[in-house]
Symmetry: C2
């Protein structure tokens, strides 16, 4: 499958590399084509890896990952172009973390809105699915790093889009029964507002190799 990955940071490169390893063709998108980080990644990730602008990556992908930093995600998606994303599934992995006042970060949007909802409103022709944002990126693409059962959350307005994301998550190693559908995209408030707890748990555990399991 042709997949665009927007963002050249650790989350973007980890997901893009996993997708290449699974045999997908991947274009990593940056603010401009020829971005040094994206070029270095594309050169190392194999023959099915390429790089370009946000618009290049969005146009290339039949499915697109948003792995940009949350504070700049809306700008990056505007640069990617609504037309390039229309009719496609956009998996939003970003968290709207604001480090401008230092650490711990706050959220630039929360409580009465979420980044996932903002993106869905900005791209009405795109099926946005929020997923994976409650996890360290290494766990996102290799859930077995954390032993035992634990859960990943998805939400979005389109059932077909969520089914496609489920399939992709299963290919990452997530068991079908550990993929929890929280409902429509408004549930992104829940998974994004979990971040402060995640950050405190990270502080206690001193590792990103953890997750939560829903117990019932």
């Amino acid at each position: 499958m042709k997949i665009g990955v927007l963002g050249t940071g650790i989350v973007g490169s980890t997901i893009a590399s996993k997708l290449c390893a699974l045999g997908h063709e991947v274009t990593m998108g940056a603010r401009s084509a020829g971005n040094e980080t994206a070029r270095t990644w594309a050169e190392s990730a194999g023959t099915n890896a390429s790089e370009g602008s946000f618009a290049d990556a969005a146009a290339f992908g039949a499915l697109v990952f948003n792995c940009t930093s949350g504070m700049h995600a809306l700008d990056a998606l505007e640069a990617a172009g609504a037309a390039n994303l229309a009719g496609k599934v956009l998996i939003d992995v970003a968290n709207p973390l604001d480090f401008s006042q230092g650490r711990p970060p706050t959220l630039s949007v929360c409580n009465t809105d979420s980044l996932g909802e903002q993106i869905q409103r900005a791209l009405p022709e795109t099926n946005v699915v929020k997923a994976l944002n409650t996890l360290n990126c290494l766990v996102m693409v290799d859930p077995a790093r954390v032993p035992g059962d634990h859960d990943v959350f998805i939400c979005g307005n389109d059932e077909g889009a969520k089914a496609q994301v489920r399939e992709l998550l299963e290919s990452f190693g997530w068991p079908a029964e550990r993929i929890v559908d929280l409902g429509d995209i408004a549930a992104a408030r829940g998974t994004e507002m979990y971040l402060p707890l995640w950050l405190h748990l990270f502080g206690v555990l001193q590792t990103g190799d953890f997750n939560i399991k829903l117990v019932r």
Copy 2:
């Protein structure tokens, strides 16, 4: 032990009844002494149960639970009286849920502050410990309702106060290793901001008999 429980709602009465069942002497506090709900509770909960005003309950308890509704917690604690709470442990179970705009509720404070921190600032002579607020009240006092391992979070500025809360939680049935200390009271932002995710999970599962397990 003499314990004050502020709040006559389902959380207050569930915790107060559990404390009575464990042999503690409990005064349930309401806006005014003689509150009908508090009287009904006290009459049914046995000889070690009584009721009074917020100030009565705060003065009575060597340890005090805040189980008031989060939106009104600061007012209730002001009525309870800083002098009545000075030098004591206050276990803050409340969540600042705002239902004024309908459901789902939003949080009346979050992101850059929390109810737990507000209460600690309002009561500098009291050792506030945030605990249990990530759970349905039936699970708070009977963790075995949810089979298997799952976690309860505590946070607060005073180690001695947290040790006292740990002991009480263990008497509720929480295994010592499932009581996770997140650090100082600022971690209340994490556990309070988890509420939107809890509410979405409640919507999916259609029961409050669930919790999360930290997996590492």
